[in-house]
Amino acid sequence: MFIIEFLVAFFLIVSGIFGFVGSYGMIKLKDPMSRLHAPTKATTLGVGGVLLASIFHSAVIEQHISLHELLITLFLFLTAPITALFIAKWHIHRHEKPDDLPDAGEDELWATHAVEQVEDVPDHTKT
């Protein structure tokens, strides 16, 4: 019993620390692309620690096996990369020129810039 309580406390502290470091990173890092790295920490170990603590707590102390937490992890792993990708693509679209990025090899352009080069993109600003 003591060991389980110790484990629960340990995971809570770990998640607290990583959640804090993630938020601190948002303040400390200066450029927008680096800032994007901070939330990935909070969603992996930050949330993961709380979920592990919750599984142990409900299994041993409340005597009730609860595996909801696995679903939360699954949905986070499905949605978080997509949010990050969209923010990154927005940044490339608004702030990076094709010359700022590394060479895209045989394809010449990255997808975000390639879309801008298509001539008949409908112009929604006039309608």
Partner: protein, 165 residues
């Protein structure tokens, strides 16, 4: 066999949906199992026309190995990135773009690779090249670009190639 395939077009999806439903219900009862199976049969049946060329997964031990490798890397990378954020001066940090030439061609495999790269702290996948031959990755602190590229190809892409292709 053909009939079975008609009824269960995506057997893995059926199992996954049933499992997710039972986890949502959060109590292992016959009720939720039956309803989960019902959803697991109906949803793949209806959505089958929208996913014609789904990849065949092989090499199940490799899938488990891949998950364990990714989990381990997430923990280690978290510690590395925490150290960078807390103790490294912003001026010493070298954020960098890395271009990763892809050997994977299956869209699903590339999606998994990009997702994995984003979920490991320190790297975020940002864009694909116009025809999908290269992946653009942003690194929080990468003095040596080649090292990051080789590590991603070695650890993730090689395993995904064995799983999907």
């Amino acid at each position: 066999m053909r009939l079975l395939h008609r009824i269960f077009p995506h057997p893995h999806l059926t199992i996954l949906l049933t499992l997710v439903w039972m986890l949502l219900a959060n109590s292992p009862s016959l009720n939720s199992l039956v309803f989960g199976l019902l959803l697991g049969i109906i949803i793949p049946f209806i959505t089958q026309p929208y996913w014609p060329d789904r990849p065949k997964l092989r090499n199940w031990p490799m899938i488990i190995e891949y998950m364990l490798v990714v989990l381990w890397d997430i923990v280690m990378a978290n510690i590395t990135v925490a150290r960078i954020i807390l103790f490294k001066r912003d001026a010493d940090r070298q954020p960098n773009w890395v271009c990763i030439p892809l050997e994977l061609r299956t869209p699903e495999a590339i999606t998994v690779l990009a997702g994995t790269i984003t979920m490991t702290p320190g790297t975020v996948s940002c864009d694909l090249s116009a025809q999908g031959h290269n992946l653009l990755v942003h690194c929080l602190d990468a003095p040596n670009v080649d090292e990051v590229r080789d590590q991603i190809k070695q650890r993730y892409e090689r395993r995904l190639k064995e799983i999907f292709e």
